[in-house]
């Protein structure tokens, strides 16, 4: 893998930062844009991934494995969260017969 190792040094860090920021803002836009709960969860995954990318980039830059270990834990949490979130979607479908988030409007006084 020695060839790849030297390749890393060619890409400056700011490219990865800009890429990650782009993906994150696209994910935010998607959350505000979509009405389908499943779509919103998927945009949430997008945001998670942008963070993962950024962490890995920093870890490679600083030569610190803690970054990648942290990404590992984030993946664990994301997986658990998707599981629970989708079961909530199932429950919602059972109760309200639709997955439109605008129908969930009882969270007020």
């Amino acid at each position: 893998m020695k060839e790849i190792s030297s390749a890393i040094q060619l890409i400056p860090l700011e490219y990865y930062i800009i890429l990650s920021v782009t993906l994150f803002s696209i994910g935010v836009m998607g959350i505000l844009f979509r009405r389908n709960i499943i779509a919103i969860l998927m945009c949430l995954e997008l945001m998670f991934n942008s963070v993962n990318l950024l962490l890995t980039a920093f870890s490679a830059y600083h030569s610190d494995p803690s970054g990648q270990v942290f990404v590992f834990f984030i993946m664990i949490v994301a997986a658990a969260e998707v599981a629970v979130g989708l079961s909530i979607v199932v429950m919602m479908k059972r109760n309200v017969e639709s997955v439109d988030i605008n129908l969930l409007n009882r969270l007020k006084w």
């Binding site: 890429l19 803002s25 998707v82």
Partner: protein, 168 residues
Amino acid sequence: MIFLFYMLSAIMVISALFVVFSKSPINNVIFLIICFIAMAGHYILLNAQFLAVVHIIVYTGAIMVLFLFVIMLLNLNKAIIPQKSKMTRIMAVIAGGIFFLVLLAATRQTFEIQPRYPFTSEIGLVANIGKTLFHEYLLPFELSSVLFLAAMVGAVMFGKKDHLSDEN
């Protein structure tokens, strides 16, 4: 190398935009999978081998499949959900744009950071990750297994039918 980087980035961004703007849930999932594969490519570019593989297995293989299962089971691809009003959508895009700009401005200071440790490219190897994981981060590792247990129990509990409401 940079060309590889650019191509992967382009694929990722374009598929992310398609995730946001496509109408059917199945299309969403497809594009998201494409995005994830591009991301795995980025990981390999950074020599984070362990992460790349775990990414493909966990995210693309498990989570997306889970999404697909739910969509199929609930027949969501057939459901027509009206979109938000035009005004809301424009506001959403503008909010996203502003968010992008603000974050860019916020992270500008990190452009001049110097690396902390002497450069090695071998930190992404499985053995090194394993060493760090089981030496310094052993407790979080064990606790995350408890977390998974809780999530599993929660998911099962949510999925069960309510006996009490059935009796009513």
